[in-house]
């Protein structure tokens, strides 16, 4: 069995600070991190190996700096990692990104389960997993919250939809996207960190993974961002302070006005 986990490096948007004078986002010192959802995918990959045996591989597409998240995956216990990096990949939308990942996965080959986080924290599209499955022509199960078993070349798992859980069975190979309910990610071990330090991450370029030139990067991306702007934050309402009783009364009166009390 080979398990391949797809991870992404994202700017740490949770830590965005806005300069109070210029209203601009302060970029300096904002670190790039592994997409928070991907930790659950990495953890589940490690657990698959622990439960069912096999090898684990992490891949990431991004600039050379994205090597950092692959090293982190190694420090957590992932066996091998590959960075997909090429100027030809720049400007990829989800269709081109998923195509690029699928080409690399085919190149790595012999895979049983491909794991992704439910979405990335920066773009938040959640599209790459299902699109990847299509390029690989294998089934996809989204929002997986539990892996029950792997037996007879079938994966049995539970997925979470809006108001119910579904138990599903899929033939291998399969792509799954995982939600954070699935596990509690571990921390890197000292041994893992030392290994990550020593491990060189191989880079795969467009030439390495082959495929159709027109499906990469900007050319392979049907969608195009034409404008990007900062949303205006809604007008400020009234903010009051005072004694707890006055404050409770203010809310009570407001709820009454709104017909809720």
């Amino acid at each position: 069995m080979k398990y391949i986990v797809c991870i992404k490096q994202v700017p740490d948007t949770m830590d965005v600070k806005v300069d109070p004078e210029t209203k601009r986002i302060v970029r300096e010192g904002v670190p790039s991190i592994m997409n928070p959802y991907d930790y659950y995918a990495v953890e589940e990959t490690l657990r698959l190996k622990e439960r069912f045996g096999g090898t684990t591989v992490a891949i990431s597409m991004g600039p050379p700096q994205a090597e950092a998240v692959l090293k982190e995956a190694i420090s957590l216990g992932i066996d091998e990692a590959y960075l997909l990096s090429d100027r030809a990949f720049a400007g990829s939308d989800t269709l081109a990104t998923s195509y690029t990942l699928s080409q690399a996965i085919k190149k790595i080959g012999d895979f049983s389960i491909i794991l992704c986080g439910r979405e990335a924290m920066d773009g938040s599209t959640g599209q790459v997993g299902p699109e990847l499955a299509e390029h690989l022509e294998i089934p996809i199960i989204t929002y997986v919250s539990k892996i029950v078993n792997i037996a007879d070349n079938q994966l049995e798992c539970v997925r979470l939809l809006e108001d119910h859980y579904e138990s599903l069975k899929s033939p291998l190979p399969v792509v799954i996207t995982v939600v954070k309910e699935i596990n509690e990610p571990r921390l890197p071990s000292l041994k893992g960190m030392l290994k990550a330090k020593k491990t060189a991450i191989p880079v795969l370029t467009k030439n390495d993974i082959g495929g159709n030139d027109t499906q990469y990067g900007q050319d392979g991306s049907p969608t195009k961002v034409v404008e990007i702007w900062r949303p205006e934050i809604k007008k400020e309402g009234k903010v009051i302070s005072g004694e707890p009783d006055e404050l409770a009364e203010a809310i009570y009166q407001e709820l009454k006005k709104l017909g809720a009390a």
């Binding site: 600039p63 924290m121 069975k169 404050l247």
Partner: protein, 398 residues
């Protein structure tokens, strides 16, 4: 295409360094900006540079491989739950009708169900022109492979110009695979759509970078133009009256749809809460300090008929299960009244609730960002204010 800094024009003001959402611009030893490999070609810097020193090089308008004029009509996937149309279907119809005003093309619902005649009529009564209907006993159940197959084949056969679906878990699961099979573009989680009056292209507007930025996205040379729309982001279409429409019925057997994944069983999420349907939501956050303090929130909520929500911090601390989470990575809600208790208002949370009709926020910290979106901000201790408020509500009930 590439984005480059014209060093002769660059004044080294560093505005671009600050605006770049991915931190791809740095200053070189001459004090001029340069763009690193982190660049995702988003062009925000091009717009913000005060001296026009950042240039786009080699951008070509893409030529379409297909005859775009063949593609007509605005389609939306009318999602149903247990054989009844979901409110998100009406939202999609609402935005489709708005697009049709400029585009002058017919608005069509796509329904996969066991019995869809009444659903189709409901869509007609709210303004739809046509319904594509595929009926089969098991279709009320979401099956990824089946839904992708039906949608793809319908699109290939009828060639719609635009295909919309809701960004529900179902929409976000099968629509991307459908788009990939057709090899067209798809924009996720739009909060608004418009038609460019000149080019007639669909302008897809969505928050990105954790809600810090808004992006306008187009799909020039591929069809259909596809997008998922965030639930509660647009207005539902209202009933206009008893109207006639055309039902196009497609025979399920003709699709030869095969599902590779088997459904073994289904189980309802315990204590089903449909936050997205609730008119009043009371949410608790980190300020509660402990899971047991959610009892106070529940009591408050029960007194005014509200549902209980939570911030990511509260869910991550294990105080309340994930289905209660409101925000970028939880649910997007738009109730009539949203009351945030002990929630600071990280962008991640605001992205999921800031369009609520009326927002009340209670927080100790007067600088909490939640107050920026609140209609009524209460600077106070939730453990002092809410018990007093509960007393008032209880005594008013007697």
């Amino acid at each position: 295409m590439e984005i480059k800094v014209n060093k002769e024009k660059c004044t080294g003001c560093k505005i671009c360094v600050d605006v770049c959402p991915v931190g791809a611009i740095e200053i070189d030893s001459d004090g001029k900006a340069f763009i690193t490999e982190k660049c995702t070609l988003c062009r925000l810097c091009v717009k913000e540079c005060p001296v026009g020193a950042i240039e786009i090089i080699g951008e070509e308008k893409k030529k379409a491989d297909i005859d775009l004029s063949q593609y007509k009509g605005i389609w939306f996937f009318a999602e149903q739950k247990n054989g009844k149309l979901s409110h998100v279907a009406y939202e999609l119809l609402g935005i489709s009708l708005k697009l049709a005003e400029t585009l002058k093309e017919e608005v069509c619902g796509v329904i996969f169900t066991s019995n869809g005649k009444e659903m189709a009529q409901e869509l007609f009564n709210r303004g739809a022109d046509k319904a594509y209907l595929v009926e089969e006993g098991n279709l009320d159940e979401f099956r990824q492979d089946i839904y992708v197959c039906l949608m793809t084949e319908l699109i290939k056969k009828y060639k719609p110009n635009i295909v919309l679906a809701s960004a529900t878990m179902i929409g976000r699961s099968f629509i991307p695979q459908t788009a990939a099979r057709i090899k067209t573009g798809l924009t996720a989680d739009c909060t608004d759509l418009a038609i460019d009056p000149e080019t007639k292209l669909l302008q897809q507007i969505r928050p990105t970078y954790g809600g810090n930025l808004m992006a306008k996205i187009i799909c020039e040379s591929h069809r259909p133009q596809m997008a998922t729309i965030r639930p509660k982001a647009v207005e539902e279409a209202k009933v206009i009256g008893n109207r006639e429409g055309t039902i196009i019925k497609e025979d399920f057997a003709s699709f030869n749809a095969v599902c590779r994944v088997d459904l073994i069983s289904k189980e309802a999420v315990e204590q089903t809460i449909d936050l997205q349907e609730a008119e009043i939501i009371i949410s608790g956050g980190r300020g509660l300090g402990d899971g047991k303090n959610f009892e106070m929130i529940r009591k408050f909520a029960s007194l005014i008929g509200g549902a209980v929500g939570a911030s990511r911090a509260a869910v991550d601390s294990g105080w309340i299960p994930y289905p209660h989470q409101v925000g970028q990575t939880g649910k997007t809600v738009k109730p009539k009244i949203y009351i945030a208790c002990g929630i600071s208002g990280a962008i991640q949370h605001l992205a999921g609730m800031s369009t609520s009709d009326y927002i009340i926020a209670i927080n100790k910290d007067p600088d909490a960002p939640i107050f920026k979106v609140a209609n009524l901000g209460i600077v106070g201790d939730i453990f002092e204010v809410i018990p007093k408020l509960i007393q008032k509500l209880e005594s008013s009930k007697q």
